[in-house]
Amino acid sequence: MTDHAIFAPRAGLVARGVDWVIRHPRMFTFLMILPIVLWLGIVYIGALIALLMQSFFSIDEFSGVVQHEFTLKTYAELLRPSNFDIIVRTVVMAGSVTLASAVLAFPIAYFAARYAKGKWKALFYIGVMLPLWSSYLVKVYAWKLVLAKEGILNWVFAKLHLTWALDGILSLPVIGGNSLSVSYLGTFIVFVYIWLPYMIIPVQASLERVPGPLLEAASDLGATPRQSFRMVLFPLALPGIVAGSIFTFSLTLGDYIIPQIIGSGRLFIGQAVYTQQGTAGNIPLAAAFTVVPIVLMGFYLWGARKMGAFDAL
């Protein structure tokens, strides 16, 4: 009987090993997730924990040597006006960029999700993704030229006899400056341009999942288009907006190149980290600065959850 077994055992070490693993599903699962766990656990979380530990050390102000003793001195330093300004500036910028991205992305995503079909849909994806394929640095430098005093934007305003309007905007306190390329407004424009696709795509995905009859039902029950948007479409798109805002908010919080090339020259968190760990050699303070966006994002997600942003998931 046995030599006519329907499921004859296979020969060979590899084959037998495979058979053994298949017969032990738990082992199979373990082997599958092992590389991911190692990568996430050691390379990712491990590095993050090492960083976090650095932030609890401090630097000796005279010798510049890192003292490996637990202290909250470095965090206290974050609250010094010059450092705290950096945090406030970055958070306000990240918040504004996120809000502007959401407002700009929604109609684009709505069009793509509801109306674009076939060729138009392909065009939409290319239009949104194409800017992501070219180098970030090239785009930022291109924007510097566009926004410069001798740049094309000034030229267009001059040709349209609207230079007064541009000058008016630039003369506004805080956000204005000598030209767009050296103002907060310029930094803001470039941030929004660079991160916008990261908002459009998740919002479009969430809108795509809203069934059309739901909007018809709202309208049928007497909701004006504005009410339909507020009570049905927006709540159902909120998970997508939150997902997008996680990108735009955290990417702006951590970026150190855009504000360095375009802007008023005042530091953002990313630049502060860059300077502290480089020229200043203050690794603990750099680490403490790095913890700020992580904590902020934690609060942000917690708040979004509290507001029910993930209820419709």
Binding site: S219, D220, T224
Partner: protein
């Protein structure tokens, strides 16, 4: 008397597709009206024209005497029960039902009370706190009904509302819809492709095909005196025969003879049995009479001929209906 809904020469063309093509229709106040037809016959588009989701490309629509063209859905006193219910997934049952009142600015306490009443009406009292997603198909159906009824619409539109339910639930809901309609005295317009459903529930039925109405009448009129070959065949799959074949009219006209009106008759004409299928209550016989294929439904109690054998059949000439429209 003012009609609840009236269509005059209504067309709705999508490019070259004539979804609705010249429909005249009157639906009376308080009537249970069914629109019956195969998919793509224009019945759902007609419903959407009443709801306001579509605008006619030609013709006029009046709802209780008021011209409806150009009036958006949210300004019509008409509510719809959607095919797949379209309940709002981010709201609980109570908020779903109260939605129509909320957008009209009714206060929370009052709209919650009204929602509870509407839920009672559909026998879902106490389900207010549940999520729409946590309900069964039949329960969702009732919520969708309550959500529409709470607005006390002049006309309630139902788009294949029972299509997704299993047979038992369907029959139960059919009765319940009928009961509700009678109790509320509301005009119901019901779209279905199920002829049995249309016949058993409606006061009057409109049979649709190719964007036009083939016939409007009471269920009995539609069934007993179909106006065209299409109606005869679609409603109750009749035997559509040349009129002269059944000796009931001039050449060129067509006659309808219902399968259940054919009986085994020792004094009748001789036909060959081509098929036999047992259906429980009845047995379906495929017959061939002088080269003409016929279907008959006979009682299973009789001793029945086998396929290949011959049988003598007959019918009451009064049951033969000669149709108005030849083709």
């Amino acid at each position: 008397m003012t009609q609840a809904v009236s269509f005059r020469g209504v067309c709705r063309h999508f490019g070259i597709v004539r979804a609705v093509d010249g429909v005249d229709l009157d639906i009376a106040d308080g009537e249970f009206f069914a629109m019956l037809g195969p998919s793509g016959s224009g019945k759902t588009t007609c419903l959407r024209l009443i709801a306001g989701f579509e605008q006619p490309t030609a013709g006029h629509i009046e709802i209780y005497g008021e011209r409806a063209e150009g009036v958006p859905p949210y300004r019509r006193n008409v509510n719809t029960v959607f095919q797949n219910y379209a309940l709002f997934p981010h709201m609980d049952v109570r908020d779903n039902v109260a939605f129509g009142l909320r957008v009209k600015g009714v206060g929370r306490a009052e709209r919650n009370r009204a929602a509870e009443e509407a839920l009672e009406l559909v026998e879902l009292a106490g389900y207010g706190d549940r999520r729409a997603g946590a309900l069964s198909g039949g329960q969702r159906q009732r919520v969708a009904l309550a959500r529409a009824l709470v607005n006390k619409p002049r006309v309630l539109l139902l788009d294949e509302p029972l299509g997704a339910l299993d047979l038992k639930l369907r029959e139960q809901m059919q009765e319940e819809l009928r009961r509700l309609q009678r109790a509320l005295g509301m005009t119901f317009v019901f779209v279905t492709h199920d002829q049995e459903e249309a016949l058993s529930m409606a006061d009057r039925v409109a049979v649709f095909a190719h964007g036009t109405i083939q016939q409007v009448g009471t269920p009995e009129e539609i069934y007993r005196r179909p106006a065209s070959r299409f109606v005869a065949d679609f409603v109750g799959s009749s035997n559509v025969l040349p009129a002269e074949f059944v000796g009931a009219g001039p050449a060129g006209r067509w006659a309808s003879l219902r399968p259940e009106d054919i009986r085994l008759d020792p004094a009748g004409r001789e036909a060959r049995v081509t098929a036999r299928a047992y259906h429980g209550r009845v047995v379906k016989l495929g017959l061939e009479l002088d080269g003409q294929a016929l279907t008959a439904l006979v009682s299973p109690a009789e001793t029945l001929p086998e396929p290949g054998q011959t049988a003598r059949i007959g019918w009451d000439p009064a049951k033969v209906h000669v149709m108005e429209h030849g083709a």
